[in-house]
C-alpha cells in the first residue's frame, strides 16, 4: 500500500508536468475559471468513466446541513498512466479538494488538487482544465 501511495504521489509530478494532459475542450462551457472553490468532505462515490472521471463528496456546513458535491477529474486513462488506481480514493475517505466552480451554479467543480485529510497525502493534481481552452 505504501508503494502504491508512492507511485500515486510520483504521478503528481507527471500530471503537473503534463499540465494540460487532462484537457477537454468543453472546459470554458462548464467551469468559471475565476471562481475557485475549496471544500472538505467524505467521498460518497467514484465514477471511473470517460472522458472525465467524477467523484462525489458529502460536505457538512456549520449548521450541520449536508450537501453532495461532484468533482471532475482527468480521464481514467490519464490517471492510470500516472499511477492512479481505482482504489486510490475510496468511498469513506475524507478529502480536501480545491478546484473551480461550474458555471451553472450547481454543486459541481473541476478538480485541481486533492488532499487525503487522514494521511496528509496529496493524491494527485489532475485537472480537466486546459490552458487556453
Amino acid at each position: 500500500m505504501r508503494m502504491r501511495f508512492a507511485v500515486v504521489v510520483a504521478g503528481i509530478g507527471v500530471l503537473l508536468a503534463a499540465g494540460a494532459a487532462s484537457a477537454h475542450h468543453s472546459y470554458s462551457a462548464e467551469f468559471a475559471a475565476n471562481k475557485p472553490v475549496k471544500l472538505t468532505g467524505v467521498v460518497t462515490r467514484v465514477d471511473w468513466k470517460n472522458p472525465h472521471a467524477l467523484f462525489y463528496i458529502d460536505v457538512t456546513d456549520e449548521s450541520g446541513k449536508v450537501a453532495n458535491w461532484g468533482w471532475e477529474l482527468a480521464s481514467p486513462n490519464q490517471l492510470m498512466r500516472a499511477g492512479w488506481t481505482r482504489t486510490s480514493m475510496k468511498v469513506g475517505d475524507v478529502v480536501t479538494v480545491e478546484g473551480t466552480l461550474a458555471r451553472d451554479g450547481s454543486n459541481h467543480a473541476n478538480t485541481r488538487a486533492v488532499l487525503l485529510t487522514g494521511t496528509g497525502k496529496r493524491l494527485f493534481a489532475a485537472s480537466s482544465q486546459e490552458q487556453g481552452q
Binding site: V7, H24, H25, A29, G83
Partner: protein, 276 residues
C-alpha cells in the same frame, strides 16, 4: 533460444513491475523490445524490419506532449501558414467562442492528423493493410491504411468522413499515407482552431529512425483553407511496456448537464467547387 543476458533483462524488467497500477496490461513488458543490461528498453537500438525488409512501424507510439495537438503549426514561421478568408473567418469564430464548439468536447472523433497528436496509438503493420488503433479519450478509434495497390478514392464521389480514406505506400524507408475524403469544417488544432475543408489532402510520412523514435512529417494540402500547402515535423516516441486502454464516453451526460453555452452560430461551409 534466448541468451542468458536477455533472460536476465526480462526477469529484471518483471521485478520492476509490482506495485504499479496493475490494471489491464498497463505495465506488461512488450515482447520483442531490445533491452539494456538493467532491463530497461533500449530505445536507441536499430529499428526492426519485417520479413520483406521494410521497416516495421508496429507498436504503441505517442507524441508525449500536447504541443502539436494544440498547434499543428508549432515552430513554423509566420507566413508558412496562410489562411484563406473562409478559414480565417471560421477560426475567428471558434476563438471568439473560446473553443466550446470543438467536436472533441462533444465526444466526437478527432480528425486526421489531430488524432495522431493527442494520445497513444498502436500501429499494426501487415503487408496489405496497416491499422492505426487510437486510444483517445472519447472512444477508441481505428484507421485503415490500405497498401494493397488500390487507388485513392475520388473524394467528391464518396461520403465525407471524420477520418477520410487512406492509402499507403513506401518511399524508401518512409511510409507515406495519403488521406482524402474529409468532412468540411474539421479542426486541425485544438487551441489554435485551424479549420480544414472537404478539399483537405493530408500526407503523413512516417520514418522510424531507431527502435524508440519516429519522425512524422505532416503536410496539409487544402486549397480552400490555406493559400499554399504547409508541412510540419512531429517527433513520435515508442511507448514500451504499456498497452492501450479502453476509453468510451460513458460519463458525458454527467458533464454536459453543467454546460452553459449560447447556441453556436453555424460555421459557414467552405466555398463550393474545388472538391478533390
Amino acid at each position: 533460444m534466448r541468451s542468458p543476458r536477455t533472460a536476465l533483462a526480462t526477469i529484471t524488467a518483471l521485478l520492476l513491475l509490482p506495485g504499479l497500477a496493475g490494471a489491464q496490461w498497463l505495465n506488461y513488458p512488450t515482447p520483442g523490445t531490445p533491452r539494456l543490461p538493467d532491463g530497461k528498453p533500449n530505445l536507441l537500438a536499430p529499428a526492426p524490419r519485417t520479413s520483406d525488409g521494410r521497416p516495421d512501424l508496429s507498436g504503441i507510439w505517442s507524441v508525449g506532449n500536447l504541443d502539436y495537438f494544440q498547434d499543428l503549426a508549432k515552430g513554423l514561421k509566420p507566413g508558412d501558414i496562410q489562411l484563406t478568408p473562409w478559414a480565417a473567418a471560421v477560426r475567428k469564430q471558434r476563438l471568439d467562442r473560446d473553443h466550446v464548439d470543438d467536436p472533441y468536447g462533444y465526444c466526437l472523433p478527432l480528425g486526421v492528423p489531430r488524432i495522431d497528436m493527442r494520445s497513444e496509438f498502436k500501429i499494426v503493420q501487415t503487408p496489405l493493410l496497416t491499422a492505426f488503433l487510437h486510444e483517445t479519450y472519447v472512444g477508441m478509434t481505428f484507421r485503415q491504411v490500405f497498401t494493397d495497390g488500390r487507388p485513392m478514392l475520388k473524394a467528391s464521389d464518396n461520403e465525407p468522413t471524420w477520418l477520410g480514406y487512406s492509402v499507403g505506400r513506401w518511399d524508401g524507408d518512409t511510409f507515406v499515407v495519403d488521406t482524402t475524403g474529409f468532412r468540411d469544417g474539421g479542426w486541425l488544432s485544438a487551441r489554435e482552431a485551424y479549420p480544414n475543408s472537404d478539399a483537405l489532402h493530408v500526407i503523413e510520412r512516417f520514418r522510424r529512425t531507431d527502435f524508440g523514435h519516429m519522425d512524422l512529417t505532416v503536410t496539409i494540402d487544402d486549397p480552400k483553407a490555406y493559400v499554399k500547402p504547409w508541412t510540419n515535423r512531429i517527433p513520435l516516441r515508442f511507448q514500451p511496456d504499456t498497452e492501450l486502454l479502453e476509453a468510451f464516453c460513458d460519463n458525458q451526460p454527467a458533464l454536459v448537464q453543467h454546460w452553459v453555452t449560447e447556441p453556436p452560430p453555424a460555421e459557414p461551409p467552405s466555398p463550393r467547387g474545388g472538391d478533390r
